[in-house]
Amino acid sequence: MTTGESAITPQTGGFVPKLNLGMFFGVRTVSILATVLFCVGIDFFSGPQFMSRYAAGLIFLCGTYVALSVSLNLINGITGQFSIGHFAFFQIGAYTAAGCSKAFYATMHLPTLEWLVLMAIAGSITAAIAGFVVGLPSLRLRGDYLAIVTLGFGEIIRIATENITYLGGSKGIDITPHYQSIALIMLLAVGCIALSRNLLKTAFGLGFLAVREDEVAAVAMGVNVTRIKVLAFIIGSAFAGAAGALYAHKYGFIIPDQFKMDGSFIVLTMVILGGTGSVTGSILAAIILTLLPELLRDLHNVSFGGLIATALMVLVATFGIKRVIDTHFDLLKMKWLSALGVLAACVIGEIIIKMLLDLFPHVRTHAPIDGAQLRMVIYAATLVIVMLLRPQGMFAHHEFSWTWVKKVLHSKTAVKS
């Protein structure tokens, strides 16, 4: 009965976990140094002597979208507050930076980098205040109703900026230190990831997850639901605001039309595609969805026939694999084999169709559409296919970690034997 009694009598304090403080802070310092080194390293290697401005810009965009999706994941995935107005906070950060730069940059004579840091902080503060304001209705609204409020909020912000002449109105505004800081955006992204990870590693994060899972039960367990919801909105929007400030300075020009709600939906797609609640999933999805439309620009050289054949085969493969997943096999190995079989059949099918199409050179040379024009169609189709095959997102609720990989591998071998 000894263990039980100590569990039930309050605050026995019988168990004091030992933490090697030297080791703890050692590991922390090393990991923080490594992160900073990583950010500065990326900044260095994206310089003009190593890669084109276009490629460096893509790296910057990846950083921006990682920060956006991981911060939205905190609101949407971890705390379960369905927000579809994340771009509003992004825009607030961007316009704060634009306004402050217009008003003060010329007179303050600060070095560019310091100014950017200052603007990121300013952007995050204004966005956090906005996040607080949006967080308040979330105390009363749930699910779709909250989604509509956040959607409306995003539109209000965009239309308001269109009508503020000081901020350029609908014609847009120039931002004076026109500077792309990859180091800063990477630091921001990593900071956002670190924060989410810390939250999920400690017991505090369970409070956030409990709000997502069941609000009524969370309240009954003494979780301060009000505080947690508002905090999630404040933290999430602060990161989006800082990202917005850096984004504004990267392009040196912003216009309200850039912040239409489709941007919010892209960020939301990243969170859902990665698996709601999974930080690593959000990161991966953000990188893939940022790079995919850019990589598809290279489709100029693909023939129309080839494109049709590929699309057809991807469709067949999707439903084939879906079929395989849904069918019950006793052995996981069988599932893998049949999925591979479907894929192989599709590749062969593709080759045959292409050969057939090549018999009609007329079709091939006078293709009505250039492959690159279809890139957004392909982008959209990819989303549909991923969602069909894996509706819970790439990582579902899991995080990518080596223990998780081991567990998955282990369960596979267990099924095999």
Partner: protein, 255 residues
């Protein structure tokens, strides 16, 4: 010592009086039963006690403190924990994490320390986890500690709800139909567990239950509600032979 006292507590929803001037006292160390036919207002009583609803008239006091101004999420902090009639677990969290959410109430570290991962938050988490595991041992759930709670069989989910409620260190435990959907063996186990919570750990327990055998064997004192009103109170054998109770459950004879 009186732990919980309802004094003429009533609540109206529009024209419907769901609970009408109900008074009873639960003493320390008691296992108190609240029974009645469907729709009698038992769960509404629980909701009144836990602050989900505020009584339209009358008062509820817990350890001498009125609960009428206490917000729902502060109730657990005072020492009242509950389980739910329709199981409300944090379904995609693991069993031990579910219990840890209950333990979160007694944490010592703050949110900023968790966000920047200070040692205090790490040791705090380890302590909460350790205590959660101890509670799982009490309720015989240790072997499923890392299973997702929605994957548990029904009886274990019910026990997990009790473990989670216990993690908040309650003085008073409210069990809303804990035996619903359990098979006879599970019911016997549950009865022993509830008795143990009182005998070994000194919890005061208020239980709503439909299973008469379960209630009669478990509770020392029983209140019977019907149509929002208390129609009887007393020892199990007194309540069982009370004609009002019999008519509430079986209906009056027509002749």
């Amino acid at each position: 010592m009186t732990v919980l006292e309802l004094d003429d507590a009533s609540i109206k929803f529009g024209g419907l009086i769901a609970v009408n001037k109900v008074s009873f006292q639960v003493n320390e160390g008691q296992i108190f039963g609240l029974i009645g036919p469907n729709g009698a207002g038992k769960t509404t009583c629980f909701n009144l006690i836990t602050g989900v609803y505020k009584p339209t008239s009358g008062s509820i006091t817990f350890l001498g403190k009125s609960l009428s101004d206490v917000h729902t999420d502060k109730i657990a902090g005072l020492g009242i924990a509950r389980t739910f009639q329709n199981i409300r677990l944090f379904s995609s969290l693991s069993v031990v994490e579910n219990v840890m959410v209950g333990g979160l109430l007694r944490r010592k570290s703050s949110l900023p320390s968790a966000l920047i991962y200070l040692p205090s938050s790490v040791t705090d988490t380890a302590q909460i986890r350790h205590r959660a595991l101890e509670l799982l041992e009490v309720l015989d759930l240790t072997d499923v500690a890392d299973v997702r709670s929605k994957d548990l069989p029904y009886g274990k989910q019910r026990r997990l709800e009790i473990a989670r409620a216990l993690a908040t260190d309650p003085k008073l435990l409210l069990l809303d139909e804990p035996a619903a959907g359990m098979n006879p063996n599970e019911k016997v186990d549950l009865m022993n567990t509830v008795k143990r919570l009182r005998d070994d750990f000194g919890k005061t327990i208020l239980v709503i239950e439909h299973d008469m055998k379960f209630v009669m064997n478990l509770c020392e004192n029983i209140s019977v509600l019907d149509h929002g009103e208390k129609i009887a109170e007393g020892l199990p054998q007194e309540v069982r032979s009370n004609p009002k109770v019999i008519s509430a459950y079986l209906g009056e004879s027509t002749n």
